[in-house]
């Protein structure tokens, strides 16, 4: 591209060909007012406020839609230009209702600011307010379209950034307004309440609904969203010591740019919940009395913890204590936590509750790629020629990832979605493969992936050159594929052979990004993951930018918690615990011995509590009672413990069982860093203070370590960071700057990727139990994260219309003779729950969808607490159920 020189306001400016005059000016610090321009949106030219004057011709034009041309001489603020701008604002104001003082948009209103800048005060035009629908029944967004200036930003953000298509212009001329399909209220449209349009709207036409606080933030600060593994950068509005408003941060190079999702935008009101823990508490142990919690000082509480844990260790040995860390706590906190567990208490039992699904996959990928694929940027994903999505619907689980995938598909990437449930990406997909789990209860994702691979080889569509130059055992693998019976494979995959052939034809010759979700843990076993890695080699996708395997992590710091070794079989830096090369340097640094044996898995941990070999548990920021299957069993197990410490921010079911409660701080109240699913390490700083006596979790851990007489004193977070940088080279970038990246290992020259042998699951003919005729698929909706401990403390999320209704096909609903108000009882071999229902015409017959996180996450009653022996991944997201109408509820006369 050529560069162009032009003059703006007497200043010589050079820019690339194709740059608009507006952007050329902005890059050189010349500000032109605008209402419809946004750097991430296509130029639109609707507001005309960015008018500038061409000195040579005297022409006025909108600078945002005019490309800079050679030798232009532009003036941005001549009296003529200013006059026109003022007139435009006067006209807008004449149509505007006079409600600035009570407008929710407050100081974020750009119309008001520009009017003030231009000196447009009292309006001398005849006011012609254009009254329009006012809508505020949903708990998130207030729409007052009489304040709309038709800049089209909301629509363009909705179409170009989040790709939902919930709104578009309706009608034309004076009557034109952004509208949903059939002009329904937002809650009856496909709007996801991501709030992206609210943040981008320059006026009060769209504003957040703050039932819990009305007013204008006094100050702004940036932070990182603490919910999912995307780690969106936030701009937080604070009033006093309270978080009152959230918008996407206006910073360079953020993962989310101008977008957010409903959780990030609206669910952070949990931070102000009355259920926040504010003081350390110790359960009284007096005889014959009901146990009660008494407030204690930090010294008392921590000393009590130390004396009880030390006693237990002395009496029953170190393996009688377990440490459950948290994907919601920072990198530094997780590092300290496992260090206390391993180095001070010598326990092997260090775990975080996602270890067995996303953790296993993360570690397998690291090992197979020699640590060369730790950083997978979402922005690169938009350049991938093809994308295969497996597992949950990213548009729900990690919405910003969903936006990236949809944008890629809109730009022309081939998209294949593999999902038994209706999926918001399918509108964009070239192919939607829907395994019918109800038809084959022995559904095998491994077979599905192998099936696609086999068809790819059969049509000679694999990347032969890549395989030759960069892999080992390619021939053995393709021969293994050829030896399979394609029909049998399709049967195991619960799809047709045609499906597999179509997928192969779509992937032929394309380097592909495989996006794998955490609840794919339901069926992606070690064998499944190996098959997927093989397919990524077969398509030549490893080692490329934006291609290869993208693993989703569920919680904000899922990646960071693993990388810090909060896992029964991994040490900080992803070293297998049995591997001396990782263990010995840590032993030296910590001046201790580390056991080479892996600790207890989650299931074994519960069993150990049940049979009394486990005596004490220290839980930091986790709620196993809500998260694990079979909550009653888990509760009884934990009740058997001699001692339980829970360090958390919200009072929850698990906290109530504790002997000592330590109130920690939320991410807005402390310093630390999270690693997101891309491998991006992001720092956050305290922007408000913790409630009451609550302390940042790392300070609590530092206090504990120091009171145990541990020689290292951690008085600043920087000391912890320094230790991590020194001992965990992949985290060398963990500093004080806003963001850094995990370090990839450089590959030795001649490195070759390994194919794993083709693994064909033997058909296990376990006929489905006729007593449980339906297949229930349990997974999350975008309104909650994970089991919903935090999101369910958001008033706005709680008052939204969804109450955990199951979704069912019209045919099944007819067969069961359901009518609208019916409550249903779902029974699986493991438990029972009660739910309302919604008919979804996109559901397959025999299959129902059960949303996670509602009603104290009672859906976990339906699945077994188990460990599938071959993969070590819990198989807890698909269940067989029977459905009955609950005649007893409702108390009809």
């Amino acid at each position: 591209m050529e560069s162009i020189v032009l003059t703006i306001n007497g200043k010589k400016i050079s820019c690339q060909e194709g740059t608009s005059v507006f952007e050329a000016a902005a890059k050189n610090g010349i500000h032109i007012p605008s209402l419809c321009y946004h750097p991430d949106l296509k130029p639109y030219g609707a507001c005309r406020l960015c008018l500038v004057e061409d000195e040579k011709t005297g022409r006025l034009f909108a600078s945002c839609v005019t490309p800079a041309a050679r030798d232009m001489v532009i003036q941005t603020d001549t009296p003529r230009v200013l006059d026109h701008r003022r007139n435009i604002i006067r006209l807008m104001m004449a149509e505007h209702p006079e409600s600035c003082i009570v407008c929710n948009k407050g100081n974020r209103c750009q119309l008001r600011r520009i009017a003030a800048d231009l000196g447009v005060g009292e309006n001398d035009l005849y006011p012609m307010p254009n009254y329009r629908s006012f809508e505020q029944l949903n708990p998130f967004i207030v729409r007052d379209l009489s304040k709309c200036i038709l800049c089209g930003k909301c629509i363009r953000a909705d179409h170009e950034l989040v790709c939902t298509g919930a709104i578009d212009y309706n009608l034309r001329g004076f009557r034109s307004r952004p509208a949903t399909a059939h002009e329904t209220p937002l809650e009856h449209s496909n709007c996801t309440f991501c709030g992206t349009c609210v943040s981008i709207c320059p006026t009060g036409a769209l504003s957040p609904k703050n039932a819990w606080y009305a007013g204008t933030p006094e100050r702004q600060a940036s932070s990182i969203c603490g919910f999912c593994g995307i780690g969106c950068a936030l701009d937080i509005g604070i009033s006093g010591n309270k978080i009152v408003e959230i918008n996407p941060a206006d910073l360079e190079e953020t993962v989310n740019r101008a977008t957010l999702c409903v959780r990030g935008h609206f669910a952070h009101d949990f931070l102000n919940s009355p259920d926040r823990l504010t003081a350390p508490m110790v359960k009284s142990t007096g005889e014959n009395e009901e146990p009660a919690f008494n407030e204690a000082s930090w010294d008392e509480a921590v000393e009590h913890v130390i004396s009880r844990l030390s006693d237990i260790k002395r009496t029953y040995g170190p393996q009688s204590i377990a440490f459950i860390g948290s994907t919601k706590c920072s990198i530094e906190e997780n590092y300290l936590f496992q260090k206390i567990g391993r180095a001070i208490f010598q326990s092997e039992n260090i775990i975080n509750m996602a270890s067995q699904n996303s953790g296993a996959q993360l570690m397998a990928l690291d090992q197979k790629t020699g640590g060369s694929c730790r950083v997978n940027r979402l922005s690169d994903l938009e350049k991938a020629p093809a994308i295969v999505v497996l597992g949950p619907d990213p548009d729900h689980a990690a919405p910003v990832l969903g936006y990236h995938i949809k944008r890629a598909a809109k730009k022309g990437a081939t998209l294949i979605v593999i999902d038994p449930l209706p999926n918001d990406l399918s509108l964009f997909a070239g192919q939607w493969i829907r395994p019918e789990l109800s038809k084959n209860p022995n559904f095998s994702l491994t077979s599905l992936i192998n099936g696609i691979a086999a068809e790819l080889v059969a049509r000679n569509g694999h990347a032969t050159e890549f395989i030759e130059n960069h892999t080992l055992d390619g021939n053995a693998y393709t021969e293994g594929l050829n030896a399979q019976d394609p029909e049998a494979i399709a049967g195991l995959a619960a799809v047709t052979r045609e499906d597999l052939k179509t997928a192969a034809s779509l992937l032929e010759g394309k380097k592909t990004a495989f996006v794998v979700g955490h609840t794919a843990g339901q069926s992606i076993s070690e064998a499944g993951f190996n098959a997927l890695f093989n397919l990524s080699l077969l398509t030549g996708s490893q080692g490329g930018k934006g291609t290869g395997i993208y693993l989703m992590t569920e919680a904000g710091n899922g990646m960071g918690a693993f990388d810090m070794g909060v896992s029964p079989d991994r040490l900080p830096g992803r070293h297998a615990i049995s591997d001396e090369s990782g263990r010995i340097p840590l032993e030296k640094a910590w001046k201790t011995k580390i056991s080479p044996d892996p600790g207890l898995s989650m299931l074994r941990l519960i069993e150990a509590a049940e049979n009394g070999t486990l005596k004490a548990v220290y839980i930091m920021g986790e709620n196993p009672l809500r998260k694990l299957p079979q909550p009653r069993r888990v509760k009884n197990a934990l009740k058997k413990l001699d001692f339980m410490v829970v360090q958390d921010i919200l009072c929850n079911q698990t906290v109530k069982l504790a002997d000592v409660i330590l109130p920690g701080a939320a991410f807005t109240e402390k310093a630390g860093a999270f690693t997101n699913m891309e491998g991006r390490i992001q720092n956050f700083a305290p922007i408000v203070s913790p409630p009451g006596q609550a302390l940042p979790d790392w300070e609590i851990l530092a206090l504990l370590a120091s009171k145990m007489g541990y020689p290292e004193k951690y008085t600043t977070i920087e000391q912890v960071k320094q230790e991590i940088r020194r001992l965990v080279p992949m985290h060398a970038d963990l500093g004080s700057h806003r963001q850094g990246w995990l370090k990839n290992n450089g590959l030795e020259s001649g490195f070759r990727f390994n194919f794993s042998p083709v693994d064909i699951p033997g058909p296990e003919p376990a006929p489905p139990d006729p007593n449980f005729p339906y297949t229930g698929i349990i997974r999350g909706l975008r309104y909650h994260l994970g089991c919903g401990t935090r999101t369910s403390r958001s008033e706005r999320i709680q008052s939204f219309q969804l109450r955990g209704q199951i979704e069912i096909s019209p045919e099944d609903s007819q067969r069961l003779d359901l009518s609208e108000a019916d409550r249903l009882r779902l029974t699986s071999p493991f438990g029972q729950i009660e739910r309302g229902f919604r008919i979804n015409t996109d559901m397959t017959v025999g299959q129902i969808f059960i949303p996670l996180a509602y009603n104290q996450n009672d859906a976990m009653n339906l699945v077994d607490l188990c460990e599938s022996p071959t993969s070590g991944a819990p198989g807890w997201m698909v269940c067989r159920v029977k459905i009955e109408k609950n005649e007893t509820s409702g108390e009809m006369p």
Binding site: H159, T164, G165, A166, I167, D168, Y169, N170, L171, R172, A179, T180, A181, H182, L427, F428
Partner: protein, 173 residues
């Protein structure tokens, strides 16, 4: 009387005819409008899916053009011209009279789906002002008696009469 139930098979034939056509949306909508007399709102979603577009975009196109309607219209759509030339020649009283005769306001459809009354900005036949259209037929140099007689041609035949109004309309010109 209810408008005709939507013939989904016919709708899908129309959709399939245009779905892979370049710039196929407008011709598709035109055909639906032509065949059904309106664009049934329930057809927006299937059209959107086939065209791989957002339903809101389809709706935006439909509501932008005056030629598309989301509401079922009468068998005869009467468009009275409210352009300048017709106004000067008394177009306003023609409209007033039409409203009274049909007992309809602008944009309304009679309960028996016989008539829809609309106005337009100019029919492009100013030399014949005041003008109106009934479906595709133009009528000019209107006077009150002429309006009555035109309307009578399109009114539903009384049970005793047997001749078709459309035929009469052709004869009447």
């Amino acid at each position: 009387m209810e408008p005709k139930a939507i013939d989904w098979d016919q709708l899908h034939v129309i959709i399939d005819k245009h779905r892979y056509q370049k710039w196929g949306l407008i011709p598709l909508l035109q055909e639906v409008q032509e065949v059904f007399g309106y664009i049934p709102p329930a057809s927006i979603e299937p059209i959107a899916r086939a065209m791989k577009m957002f339903p809101t975009c389809i709706q935006g196109v439909i509501t932008f053009y005056a030629g598309f309607s989301l509401k079922p219209k009468g068998r005869y759509v009467i468009r009275v011209c409210r352009g300048t030339a017709c106004h000067v020649k008394g177009g306003r009283s023609i409209l007033r009279m039409m409203k009274k005769e049909l007992e309809l306001e602008e944009g309304e459809t009679s309960p028996d789906y016989q008539f829809t009354l609309e106005t337009v900005a100019c029919l492009g036949a100013c030399f014949l002002a005041p003008t109106m259209m009934v479906n595709k037929n133009y009528y000019g140099k209107l006077t009150p008696p002429k309006v009555i007689s035109i309307l009578n041609q399109y009114r539903k035949p009384k049970p005793t009469e047997s001749s078709s109004p459309a035929k009469e309309a052709d004869d009447g010109r």
